[in-house]
C-alpha cells in the first residue's frame, strides 16, 4: 500500500515547538537563575519508591523495571519489593547520616500497603512526590479522561492523607503521559512535574487549567537506566554522576544556577553493594562550595520566586 499523500503534510511545521505545551528556549541564553545563599547548583535527589503488581498489564506498554517473567513472576515482584522493605530505609539512613533532604517519588498504593515507608520519609524531613498509583497504571492517551483523572486523584489522596504534606509534585510511572495528563495533574492540585527530560533547569508548561512547572530529572544517569539499560557497573554510574556534576557546576559560573538531579530507585541504589557508591557520589558533590541540597519542591519554589 503506498502512503497517502497526507504523509507529506506537516501541520505543525512552524516556528518553535510542534505543540503548545511550552516554548522553545535555549538553556544558555536565559536570564541567570540565582539559588538561595548564592548557591551554584541545586542538588535534587529523587528516590523512586515503587510497587509492581504481580498482574500488571503488558498493554499498551510496561513501565521500565516491570515484571518480565511468566506469571506469577516471583523473581521481579519480590526483587522490586525489596526496595520497599530494606532499600528505601538504607537510602533514608544514608541521607540522614549526611544531613540531606530530598524527594521520594512514591506510588500512591504504597501509602496504603506500607504506611511505614511514607512515615519514615516524612519523619526524615523529606518531601513526598506522587509517582502515580502503581507501576501497572501507566498514563497514556488510550485512557478515558475520567479513568485517568481517577488514577491521579486516588494517588494524590492516598499520599496526601498518608503524609500530611500538600503533595504538589508529580512523577508518572515510566515518565509516561497522555496528551491530556498535564491538564488533569493541574486540575488535581499538582504544580510541578518531573516527567520531561529536556532541560537542566525548570521551565513553565502551559495547560488548559493553568501553568505546570517542568522540573529537571536526568534520564541517562538514573541509577536504573545505567544499571539495567546500559549495563554499566556501579563505579561507572558514580563516575557518570560526578562527570555530570562537574559540567553543570562549571557552567554555573558563567550561566547561572543549574539543577543537578540524582534519580534513584530504592530497589537499585538501596542494594547493599551499591549504597556506598551513592555516598561517594553525593560526598564528591557536597565537597564543592555552593551546592544546595533540597527537595525538588523547594527548588521549584526558589525558581518560581524569580519569575
Amino acid at each position: 500500500m503506498p502512503l497517502p499523500d497526507s504523509y507529506l503534510d506537516y501541520p505543525a511545521r512552524r516556528y518553535g515547538m510542534d505543540h503548545d505545551r511550552y516554548d522553545w528556549s535555549d538553556l544558555f541564553q536565559r536570564r541567570p537563575i540565582r539559588w538561595p545563599n548564592g548557591a551554584r547548583v541545586a542538588l535534587s535527589i529523587v528516590t523512586h519508591v515503587q510497587h509492581f503488581p504481580l498482574d500488571m498489564p503488558a498493554k499498551p506498554f510496561k513501565a521500565p523495571g516491570a515484571l518480565s517473567m511468566p506469571y506469577p513472576d516471583f523473581r521481579y515482584f519480590t526483587n522490586r519489593d525489596y526496595g520497599n522493605r530494606l532499600g528505601v530505609f538504607r537510602v533514608l539512613r544514608l541521607l540522614s547520616d549526611m544531613g540531606l533532604r530530598g524527594s521520594f517519588a512514591i506510588n500512591g498504593c504504597i501509602a496504603a500497603r506500607y504506611p511505614a515507608v511514607v512515615q519514615a520519609v516524612v519523619e526524615g524531613g523529606h518531601e513526598v512526590v506522587a509517582h502515580g498509583l502503581d507501576m501497572g497504571k501507566v498514563h497514556h492517551s488510550g485512557l478515558t479522561e475520567p479513568d485517568e483523572d481517577a488514577i491521579i486523584a486516588e494517588a494524590l489522596r492516598l499520599l496526601r492523607e498518608g503524609s500530611g504534606q500538600a503533595v504538589t509534585g508529580w512523577l508518572s510511572p515510566g515518565r509516561a503521559q497522555g496528551f491530556n495528563t498535564p491538564e488533569l495533574l493541574v486540575r488535581n492540585g499538582v504544580r510541578w512535574c518531573l516527567d520531561w527530560a529536556n532541560d537542566d533547569l525548570p521551565y513553565e508548561m502551559r495547560t488548559d487549567n493553568g501553568p505546570l512547572l517542568a522540573m529537571p530529572l536526568a534520564h541517562e544517569t538514573d541509577d536504573r537506566v545505567v544499571a539495567n539499560e546500559y549495563f554499566h557497573s556501579e563505579p561507572e554510574w558514580e563516575q557518570q554522576v560526578k562527570d555530570r556534576f562537574d559540567v553543570l557546576y562549571r557552567e554555573s559560573a558563567e550561566y547561572g544556577g543549574r539543577v543537578m538531579s540524582v534519580p534513584l530507585h530504592s530497589w537499585v541504589s538501596g542494594m547493599p553493594y551499591r549504597v556506598e557508591y551513592l555516598r561517594e557520589a553525593l560526598g564528591y558533590m557536597l565537597a564543592h562550595d555552593g551546592v544546595w541540597t533540597a527537595p525538588a519542591g523547594e527548588i521549584a519554589a526558589a525558581f518560581a520566586g524569580q519569575e
Binding site: P2, L8, L27, Q177, V247
Partner: protein, 310 residues
C-alpha cells in the same frame, strides 16, 4: 506492488583495499576528518508508517520526545562549543523542518561556516512505502528549505532514520546530490553506481556514531572518547599510504549531555592536535575527490577489477 527482494542491489563494485589508486588531500594532509552532527526534530504526534512506528509508546511518548528535545534546548550548545574549541566545523545532518522550528540553531551553525546536508524532513517520517514521486517531493522540499534558510545548495544526504527504497540513490543523483552517507562499506569515498549523474558514498560511520556507541553498544561516556582516539590513530597511520576519511556522526541530545561532553571534547582536541589532519566538511571532501581525479580513478579501478583485469 511489492517488487521481489534482491540479494544485492549492486550499488557499488567490489574493490579490495590493496592496489587502489592513491588519494591525496589538499595541502598534503593525510587524513580527512569530518564531524556530522545530526540536528534533528522528532515530532510530538507523528503519523504511523506501516513499516515503522516512530515511538515505542503511543503518541505522545513524552520521555523519548523530551529526551530528543534536550538536544535542541541544551545539548547543541555544548557540542558546538567543543567543536569550536577544536576548530571543527560541522556538516549538519539536518532534518530540514528544523529550519522552520529552530532558526536560531540554523543561524548559529551558518555563522560558523558549517555545511548543511539533508537528513529528510523529520526524523519521524520515513521513506518506506513512498512512491518514487513522493520521495522526489521530499528531496525537492529539502533542497528548497535549505536554500531558503541558508543559501546553501544541498550536496549531501543521509536518509531520514536511515530509511531507503530501491531507487533512492538514483533519484538523489538525479536531483544533484553529490554524496550519500547511507553506506558503511569503506574508509575512502567510493563511486555509487546510479542511473544518471555521479554520486559518492562518503564514509560516515555506524561505529563512531554516538547513538550506536552509547545505545546499541552500551559504551560508557569516557570509553567513547577512547574509541574515537583509537579509530583516529589507526586511520592516521594508514593514511601515510593513501588518504582516508574519518567521520564522527553525533546527536546533540546524546553527546551534549553533561556527563558525556568532556570525554568527547578531549578526543576531538586530540585529533585536531595532529598536523596531518584535514578538518573538512562533507562537501569539501566530495569536491576534492572529484577535482583530484580520485572519483574517476576509483571508478575505473573498480570497473577493471569487476572485469577481472587485476
Amino acid at each position: 506492488m511489492a517488487a521481489p527482494m534482491q540479494s544485492d542491489l549492486r550499488l557499488y563494485d567490489y574493490l579490495p583495499w590493496p592496489g587502489r589508486p592513491k588519494i591525496t588531500w589538499p595541502g598534503g594532509k593525510k587524513l580527512a576528518v569530518w564531524i556530522a552532527p545530526n540536528i534533528e526534530f522528532y515530532e510530538y504526534d507523528p503519523p504511523d508508517n506501516p513499516t515503522r512506528t516512530p515511538w515505542g509508546r503511543p503518541n505522545p511518548d513524552v520521555l523519548q520526545y523530551s529526551h530528543r528535545d534536550y538536544g535542541n534546548r541544551a545539548g547543541w550548545q555544548r557540542m558546538m562549543a567543543a567543536m569550536d574549541r577544536a576548530g571543527f566545523r560541522g556538516s549538519v545532518s539536518l532534518n530540514v523542518a528544523l529550519c522552520d522550528h529552530h532558526p536560531e540553531i540554523i543561524r548559529a551553525c551558518a555563522d560558523r561556516g558549517w555545511e548543511f546536508f539533508s537528513h529528510g524532513i523529520y526524523n519521524t517520517r520515513y521513506v518506506y512505502n513512498m512512491t518514487i514521486e513522493q520521495e522526489r517531493e521530499i528531496i525537492r522540499d529539502a533542497f528548497d528549505t535549505v536554500r531558503k534558510h541558508t543559501g546553501q545548495e544541498l550536496a549531501g544526504w543521509l536518509s531520514p532514520a536511515l530509511s531507503n527504497n530501491l531507487w533512492t540513490m538514483d533519484i538523489l543523483a538525479e536531483a544533484g546530490i553529490q554524496y550519500t552517507c547511507d553506506m558503511f562499506h569503506d574508509d575512502q569515498p567510493m563511486p555509487v553506481k546510479v542511473a544518471s549523474g555521479r554520486l559518492i558514498s562518503m564514509p560516515y560511520s555506524l561505529e563512531m556514531n554516538d547513538v550506536i556507541v552509547y545505545n546499541s553498544q552500551k559504551v560508557t561516556p569516557r570509553h567513547y572518547g577512547e574509541i574515537i582516539r583509537r579509530q583516529f590513530d589507526q586511520l592516521y597511520r594508514e593514511s601515510d599510504e593513501s588518504g582516508m576519511v574519518m567521520c564522527i556522526p553525533l546527536h546533540p541530545y546524546l553527546v551534549g549531555q553533561p556527563h558525556r561532553i568532556d570525554a568527547f571534547a578531549e578526543a576531538i582536541e586530540y585529533i585536531a592536535g595532529h598536523e596531518g589532519v584535514w578538518q573538512a566538511t562533507g562537501r569539501e571532501i566530495a569536491a576534492h575527490y572529484h577535482a583530484s581525479g580520485a572519483y574517476d580513478a576509483m571508478a575505473a579501478a573498480a570497473a577493471a577489477h569487476a572485469q577481472g583485469e587485476r
